[in-house]
């Protein structure tokens, strides 16, 4: 009996200790993140950007967001405590986080660390200490941390009908504020001018705009949380035919919006979309190689470069021009040749590495890609390819008497090309070749023993993949009007591989989602300069940790995840149907 009591008191102590450790850990995560953001210099950038004009900068919003999150996090992590205790935990976590930042403030106030940490500037110190002296600032920071994290815990503890709308409302207002400038660019029409002026100034979102957006988000979300179920039930109750027609109707709206949006949104969006489109096109090509045939390729940019250079050499009126007729070819005439050149490049890559597998294949293709880049860049090849000076004066494609000069026109060209590429991938997936690709992805030796000619199918994967990359390169050359070797860095290969993996390997919608996420978003955040890559790296790691199958996994991969029981259930259902 007494033993049990002792044991349980030990247990109690254990739980207490564990709780204490958990609090410290959560606080350290929050505080560490905030300090890291300061040290890496992100806060310096964020200070310049208003979420609410002259009131709340992105830096503030970041601090608030992180603290709210850790407050909520500790609540999720300690399910055994009572609600009130959890909220108190939230306060403690916030204090710990605040303490981290305070230490940074004290260090910055006491020592001059700028020669080492270039971002820890007086301006940052001023920002962090709100004009107080350092010690008061620390106190304020710690208290503010505690209160904010407690608020986070409170939100977490509040009932769903309140919590979700709150989060959605805040997020809506935040993102509208973050992209205020872009949204204004897209609202250059007189009809929407009053809304624009109500919501934004050129500095950022107005306070009234913020509140409006928050209320709007809150209301819609509230409606969905309280009434959403009923709506869905209503929808389900309808016949499957009308369900399908509703779905097609939604798809149609989405497609029309996609088609019209770039035209309405102005040339900046056009450019971003154009770039996303190019990456989608290349992603579709690489998807044939990596997604279907399982051939890792980090030299993909070489195919893209081949397409671009072929177009430039055949069409651009400069001293490097290759004359096939008595005049330079037009873009359309050169296009098939450029794609053919890329295809040959694909074969030239594929043949040597036929027997290389796995990670080694990635490295070997990367090496080949870099060889091409070094050669193009060198003086040796410059009489032929222009060296680092690049090739200039590439004409744009014409359709009849209409020049595709605007990024948006080229975007539509890219869109059509991507659709063709997607169709290719889709049609091949269920064909003899597609199955052979999947078979060698799964087990090369067995595939070969079943009569699959590895050389042919692998080379086809390289060639077809390269073909689409060449098409992308040709459009790219037309878009820029001039090309330089440094446009064809290893980074592009990495980007393409990363986007198809983040989107979900082997999945066609995944390519689009991945490109929007990894190419589109960073482009929209271009003003943060090189920090985009910091975020990019971070996103890659987080994505792989959280959703290793990608954002939109292919049906096959989803099937892989199905447990054996589900499959059995499926079997039973099927045999039941038969019987």
């Amino acid at each position: 009996m007494s033993f049990e009591i002792v044991a349980s008191s030990f247990q109690h102590k254990d739980i207490e200790q564990e709780q204490f450790r958990r609090t410290l850990k959560c606080g350290a995560i929050g505080g560490g993140t905030v300090v890291a953001l300061c040290v890496f210099g992100l806060i310096n950038q964020f200070m310049e950007r208003w979420i609410i004009e002259n009131t709340l900068s992105l830096a503030h919003a970041t601090f608030i967001g992180i603290t709210l999150t850790v407050g909520a996090l500790i609540c999720i992590r300690s399910p055994k405590l009572s609600s009130a205790a959890r909220i108190f935990q939230g306060f403690l976590v916030g204090v710990v986080s605040g303490a981290f930042l305070s230490i940074l403030i004290l260090i910055m106030a006491t020592f001059d660390v700028r020669h080492m940490f270039v971002s820890l500037s007086p301006k940052l110190l001023a920002f962090l200490s709100y004009g107080f002296d350092p010690y008061t600032a620390c106190l304020v920071t710690i208290l503010a941390g505690g209160v904010l994290a407690m608020a986070g815990a409170l939100i977490r503890e509040s009932p769903t009908w309140l919590r979700k709308p709150l989060i959605v409302g805040l997020a809506t207002a935040f993102f509208i504020g973050l992209f205020a400038e872009l949204l204004q660019l897209a609202m250059q029409y007189e009809s929407v001018e009053p809304i624009r002026d109500y919501m934004f100034t050129w500095e950022g979102q107005t306070l009234t705009g913020f509140i409006t957006m928050f209320v709007l988000g809150f209301a819609i979300s509230l409606f969905w949380v309280t009434r959403g179920k009923a709506v869905m039930m209503n929808h389900r109750a309808k016949s499957s035919g009308s369900q399908r027609s509703i779905r097609y109707f939604l798809y149609a709206i989405a497609v029309v919006l996609l088609l019209l949006f770039p035209m309405a949104a102005g040339s900046f969006f056009g450019q971003v979309l154009m770039l996303v489109g190019l990456y989608v096109l290349m992603g579709m090509g690489l998807n044939l190689e990596v997604g279907l045939a399982g051939l890792l390729d980090l030299g993909f940019v070489a195919f893209f470069a081949t397409g671009a250079y072929a177009i430039a050499l055949l069409t651009a009126d400069n001293e490097h021009l290759i004359l096939l007729l008595d005049r330079p070819l037009t873009w359309w005439e050169a296009l098939p040749l450029a794609m053919f050149a890329s295809l040959l490049m694909g074969l030239a890559f594929g043949i040597p590495v036929l027997k290389v597998r796995g990670d080694y294949l990635a490295v070997a293709t990367m090496g080949l890609g870099e060889i091409i880049r070094v050669v193009v860049l060198s003086d040796m090849a410059s009489p032929l390819l222009g060296g680092s000076q690049g090739l200039l004066h590439i004409p744009r494609p014409w359709i009849g008497n209409f020049e595709l000069s605007d990024p948006i026109h080229l975007f539509y060209l890219t869109l059509i090309s991507s659709m063709i590429a997607a169709y290719f991938a889709w049609a091949l997936e269920n064909s003899r070749l597609g199955r052979a690709w999947m078979a060698i992805r799964e087990d090369e030796d067995v595939g070969q023993a079943l009569g699959i000619n590895l050389v042919n199918v692998k080379l086809l994967a390289y060639a077809l993949g390269a073909w689409f990359a060449g098409l992308a390169g040709a459009i790219f050359a037309a878009m820029l009007g001039s090309i330089f070797p440094h446009s064809f860095q290893l980074l592009i290969s990495i980007n393409i591989l990363a986007l198809i993996i983040v989107g979900g390997i082997g999945s066609l919608p995944g390519v689009v989602v991945g490109a929007l996420m990894l190419i589109g978003t960073p482009e929209l955040l271009r003003e943060f300069g090189e920090y985009r890559f910091l975020a990019y790296g971070f996103v890659l790691i987080v994505m792989m940790r959280v959703r290793p199958l990608g954002l939109w996994p292919s049906a096959v991969r989803k099937r892989e995840m199905q447990s054996a029981e589900e499959a059995e259930a499926l079997l039973r259902a099927q045999s039941g149907q038969k019987a």
Binding site: S431, R435, E442, Q448, G451, L454, L464, R559, L571
Partner: protein
């Protein structure tokens, strides 16, 4: 069932791994429409024989002929084209593909459609595809996996995986089917069923069967010829009754559970 002429012949087949001689000057003579078993203790080099015939790795000496044609030095896919199909000791299905897709991959070399046909959806390629999937369903039914075509291979029960692997090999329409321990892990009644099934392959489809097996009742019950390997050399060959009585065989198996079954 009449046993015909020589289908597969190896002459002094030799395979070394580093210093280890896995197969030493093996002569094998597999007759058409026979069921020919290879038995031997663990590590006797049985599976290596299969791998050599399939040309998974180069051989060090000797030659392999299929219907008089040299097939060593060929890549595995060409050997497959000549009509050799096989299964694996540790089942090697395409685990993330469905049963029917596995079989369709097996039919790869008999399908005529080209990739541009698939892209353009030409009538020819659609017809080809349709015919293929019908045949694949028939094969599934033949091995007793009816209605499981859409199940991923990895989710099939063990016995079904074995059957699917055989179906995949059959899809190649082989002249010579090499089965690597088809009854491994099966209980006696399942084994018996498998024996009947393999006999059927020979009797109904006229396929020559080369078999590696550990279950002595299975081997002795259906083989026409049994070859006994030990340490890469052939120590005995002949009809089951002859092999059963061979002293060398009993010696090689001495201490192994096989002895009990054989006598």
């Amino acid at each position: 069932m009449t046993i015909g002429q020589t289908l597969l012949k190896t002459n002094a087949l030799t395979k070394r791994f580093g210093g280890l001689v896995a197969i030493d000057a093996l002569d094998l003579d597999v007759k058409e429409r026979s069921i020919h078993s290879i038995i031997g203790p663990n590590g006797a080099g049985k599976t290596t024989v299969f791998n050599c015939i399939m040309n998974f790795f180069p051989i060090e000496g000797g030659e392999i002929r299929l219907s008089e044609e040299r097939i060593d030095n060929m890549t595995p896919d060409r050997v497959a084209y000549r009509g050799v199909g096989r299964t694996y000791q540790n089942i090697r299905l395409f685990k993330n593909m469905s049963s029917i897709e596995n079989i369709l991959v097996g039919m790869h070399m008999h399908l005529k459609s080209r990739w541009w046909g698939a892209v353009l959806r030409s009538r020819h390629s659609r017809a080809d595809e349709k015919k293929a999937s019908e045949e694949a369903s028939r094969l599934l039914q033949y091995v007793g996996l009816r209605g499981k075509g859409d199940v991923l291979a990895r989710n099939l029960p063990y016995g079904d995986q074995r059957k699917l692997e055989i179906a995949r090999a059959l899809a190649m329409k082989p002249k010579l089917l090499m089965l690597d321990e088809p009854t491994a892990g099966m209980n006696p009644s399942e084994s018996l069923e498998m024996v009947g099934f393999i006999r059927g392959l020979r009797d109904d489809l006229g396929i020559t069967i080369l078999l590696i097996e550990h279950h002595m009742p299975v081997v002795m019950g259906m083989s026409d010829i049994v070859t006994v390997l030990d340490h890469g050399t052939k120590i005995s060959e002949g009809p089951p009754d002859h092999v059963k009585r061979d002293k060398k065989v009993i010696e090689a198996y001495l201490g192994q559970s096989g002895v009990g079954h054989m006598t």
